[in-house]
């Protein structure tokens, strides 16, 4: 067990290194010096408290959208719609925040906004599970397309009832300060949403690996036939996991509107859903692994902005870096299983009497 954990650490570290090396090669093609770019990236990320804390600000919603992919994935379902669920959550959180801001005491207002967002996102998501259970619809496609519907609904409200008082841009007014998520480190943007996301990740881990419900979700994911003969209703599992997924992505929406933007802006954070998928795959859908992978991606995102500002390298290089890291980490899973098999075979040969 210990050897395998070491394997995991070494292989993931090596994969991240190789991913960065591959992106360095690409920078060379762009005629930029990768070493100075990486130096800049590293130094700027740890140079000041604000930038460093921003890594975790960026990680918070990523943790939640990655979990939104991971939970249905445990039941062998693909939730490609976290982006839309995120928008639904952001929309409802904003509407509630605008309505209760200043009327309810702070924490209570935040809680109401979070719960309303999660419930709405959950319902939105469970529709996908329902379509799968009832009509054998393809959850991959339905969830993916539901994102566009959610986006359109958000735009509709941003141009009508939720539009700012000035009626200039498709965005809401700023929320009352009472419903802002409190900062957990002063002089930074780091808010309670990060702690919330980590707690939720731990809770999801417990649910998946330690409760009868999570057990049944995994049974359905591994072997739907055996699940059926054991009296486990996979249809209910489809709806339930998609409800949870929708609620998680919606919570990410709440975290972003109430923790960072303090308002709702049209089409913000458009990549959160797909990055979440990448992170979940990177972490092998393990909720705890997702926390660490999200922090890594948070750092890359934060660094990308700085690199773009300072070194003349287009900020989109960071997406290439993310992609390279992801490819190598996924390759490392296969490498690890090959190493493991070889080791067992050698062991066997050694023990075999001549």
């Amino acid at each position: 067990m210990k050897a395998r954990f070491l394997d995991l650490l070494v292989s993931v570290a090596a994969a991240v290194f190789l991913g960065l090396a591959a992106s360095a090669a690409i920078m060379l093609f762009l005629g930029k010096d990768p070493l100075s770019a990486f130096g800049l990236l590293a130094s700027s990320l740890i140079r000041d408290k604000y930038t460093f804390a921003d890594i975790f600000v960026k990680a918070a919603p990523l943790i939640l959208t990655a979990l939104a992919f991971a939970v249905p994935y445990k039941a062998s379902l693909f939730n490609i719609g976290a982006q839309g669920q995120f928008y639904v959550g952001a929309l409802v959180a904003s509407a509630v925040s605008l309505a209760v801001g200043g009327r309810l005491p702070g924490v209570l207002g935040q809680a109401v906004a979070l719960l309303a967002a999660a419930a709405a996102g959950g319902l939105w998501g469970s529709f996908v599970g329902f379509a799968k259970a009832r009509f054998k619809a393809n959850e991959f496609l339905i969830s993916m397309m539901s994102t566009y519907v959610a986006l359109a609904i958000m735009n509709f409200f941003l141009r009508t009832s939720l539009m700012e008082a000035k009626h200039e841009y498709p965005q809401t007014d700023s929320f009352d300060q009472g419903v802002w998520l409190p900062l957990i480190v002063g002089d930074t943007r780091l808010h309670a949403g990060f702690a919330l996301a980590v707690l939720i990740a731990i809770a999801i881990w417990l649910v998946i690996y330690r409760t009868p419900f999570g057990y049944r979700v995994r049974v359905v994911g591994y072997n739907a036939d055996a699940a059926r003969l054991a009296g486990i209703d996979s249809k209910r599992t489809y709806v339930a996991t998609f409800f949870i997924a929708g609620a998680l992505a919606a919570a990410a929406g709440f975290v972003e509107t109430n923790g960072v933007q303090h308002m709702l802006v049209q089409g913000f954070n458009p990549g959160l859903g797909s990055e979440g998928i990448g992170i979940a795959i990177l972490a092998n859908a393990n909720p705890i692994g997702i926390v660490f992978a999200s922090i890594l991606f948070g750092a890359l995102k934060g660094g990308g902005v700085i690199m773009g500002q300072m070194s003349g390298i287009p900020a989109s290089i960071i997406e290439i870096m993310e992609g390279c890291v992801m490819i190598f980490v996924i390759l490392s899973y296969f490498a690890r299983s090959i190493v493991e098999r070889r080791r067992e075979k050698r062991e066997l040969q050694r023990r075999m009497p001549a």
């Binding site: 417990l206 330690r210 409760t211 009868p212 057990y215 049944r216 995994r218 049974v219 591994y222 072997n223 036939d225 055996a226 699940a227 059926r228 003969l229 054991a230 009296g231 486990i232 209703d233 493991e340 098999r341 067992e344 075979k345 066997l348 040969q349 075999m352």
Partner: protein, 504 residues
């Protein structure tokens, strides 16, 4: 002295976790029928897959007619005249017999008539009654096997390896297969017969090679041995005879009753026809039949995973119409499915997790909102001990267990979880003799405990050894239910083939 046709020297094949073959030396002469006898997991199939080029040996050499041969793929093997018929046929169902036979051996424009002529010719030579234009999936299993044989013959195979060829055949079909094997060998060709059935071995083989845990554990000429010696070579010791079956209580209450049950499969084809049967408490009803004649559907109708289109299923007094799988489990029905890897076990989960598969809804395994992992592990440890499951511990993944131990796991779970009725569908398929013996003893034990047992099996010896009453199924209907004493092997064979009008 001329070199034998095939000689395998010092073949060692390793898989990640097991030594599949260790220094195996094996020769196959011309005109010889070699039986490769051994339990499941003894390495019989592996060594033959090495010869056929599906696996690559880690060390050792293969000589064909005294010359070193490199066999990298089945294509190489076929060009040397070696063919192998896998346990699961590799046929294209919607294609015709001829199309299947020429598959992979034709280029450019196919001269269909010439191919058909050649196939007809080959079939005629060995007396196979097969229409070359028939669609393969519409043929009975016995004929599909003949198509596989024709495929080998079409490529001028001089050695045919058959992996458990009789597993899916009726007694009559097996008989005709044996006839082919003899005729083929008499023409100077060779056959390797992989099997764990002693009876077949004594019937057809010239020489018997016994394998055990990857090594050769003895070679005998047929004339020089008997079934007793072979079985002890195979498992290393002799098995105690099964305890005599206690007589079923005559007046015991009926536990399961099916009346005029009909059911259709997904395509709407009738798969159960007016099926009626009843099983008393403490009674074993054996259901014999060639596989695919409605036995699986019968089990499904009882366990609740298939709805009857008409008729009634009763457990004791309770009508099971509209009662779901989960409720039926709670009512005390256990089910050991035929395809354990698909329906019975979650391969990626641990043994302990597999043990709670059917009882995760109850409060038994819970502490607060969470699973009581310690108690689950303890109960799995007890099952490992009680059912002598060979596993490193409760945390071992099911996929790491051998087939026999996976089955013991399923049997343990279903026995523990059922109170009134337990269904065994092909409970010993693919198991080694030790595990078979264990499962049989368990089934008899369940009967003694007063549970009703529905035993579906294509192994007639199993049906005869365990059942109190025997039902024979053919095309979804029951051909008759008989007390065991009133049935002979021959009679049952005819019933299995659909002939009901023989004698009384």
């Amino acid at each position: 002295m001329a070199a034998p046709f095939i000689e395998m020297r010092d073949i060692t094949k390793l898989f990640a976790k097991v030594v599949a073959n260790r220094r195996v030396n094996l020769s196959i002469g011309r005109g010889e029928v070699v039986a490769l006898l051994g339990e499941n997991g003894a390495g019989k199939s592996t060594i033959m897959k090495v010869l056929y080029g599906l696996y690559h040996a880690d060390s050792g050499t293969i000589l064909v007619e005294g010359e070193r041969a490199r066999i990298e793929s089945p294509k190489d093997a076929m060009s040397l005249g070696i063919a192998m018929i896998q346990q699961h046929f590799s046929l294209v169902g919607p294609h015709t017999v001829v199309e299947n036979i020429v598959l992979g051996n034709v280029r450019g424009i196919i001269d269909a008539r010439a191919c058909e002529g050649k196939v007809r010719d080959l079939a005629g030579r060995y007396g196979f009654d097969i229409d070359p234009r028939a669609i393969v999936r519409e043929l009975p299993v016995g004929s599909q096997q003949k198509v596989e044989i024709l495929k080998a013959l079409y490529q001028d195979a001089r050695l045919i390896i058959m992996d458990e060829p009789t597993a899916v055949l009726t007694p009559q079909e097996s008989e005709s297969l044996m006839g082919f094997v003899r005729a083929y060998a008499e023409a100077g060709n060779s056959v390797v017969f992989i099997t764990h059935k002693l009876k077949e071995v004594m019937e057809v083989a010239d020489r018997i090679v016994v394998m055990r845990s990857g090594e050769i554990h003895g070679e005998r000429k047929r004339e020089e041995t008997d079934e007793r010696e072979l079985s002890s070579l195979m498992i290393g010791h002799e098995l105690p005879p099964l305890p005599p079956s206690s007589p079923a209580a005559e007046g015991a209450p009926v536990a399961l009753r099916l009346e005029l049950v009909n059911a259709r499969d997904r395509r709407g084809v009738v798969c159960l026809r007016d099926l009626s049967l009843s099983i008393r408490e403490g009674e074993i009803l054996g259901v014999a039949g060639v596989s695919g004649n409605g036995q699986d559907e019968l089990c499904e109708v009882v366990c609740g995973s298939r709805q009857a289109s008409s008729g009634s299923v009763r457990l004791g007094e309770r009508d099971l119409a509209g009662v779901g799988i989960r409720e039926r489990i709670e009512l005390g029905i256990g089910y050991v499915p035929a395809d354990r890897q698909r329906d019975g076990v979650v391969m990626e989960m641990s043994l302990a997790e597999n043990m709670i598969l059917k009882s995760s809804f109850g409060k038994v395994w819970r502490r607060g909102p969470f699973l009581d992992l310690r108690r689950i592990a303890a109960s799995a440890r007890k099952a490992i001990e009680d059912y002598s499951i060979k596993a490193p511990g409760p945390e071992a993944l099911a996929k790491g267990l051998s087939g026999g131990n996976q089955q013991k796991l399923v049997v343990a779970r279903e026995v523990e979880g059922s109170r009134r009725l337990i269904i065994f569908n092909q409970p010993t398929r693919g198991l080694d003799l030790g595990a078979i013996d264990y499962v049989h003893t368990t089934i008899l034990g369940e009967k003694r405990k007063g549970k009703a047992v529905l035993l579906v099996s294509t192994e007639l010896s199993e049906i005869f050894a365990l059942s109190d009453k025997i039902a024979v199924m053919y095309k979804g209907a029951i051909m008759g239910i008989f007390p065991k004493a009133e049935l002979s092997m021959e009679r049952i064979g005819l019933l299995m083939a659909g002939y009901s009008g023989v004698g009384a």
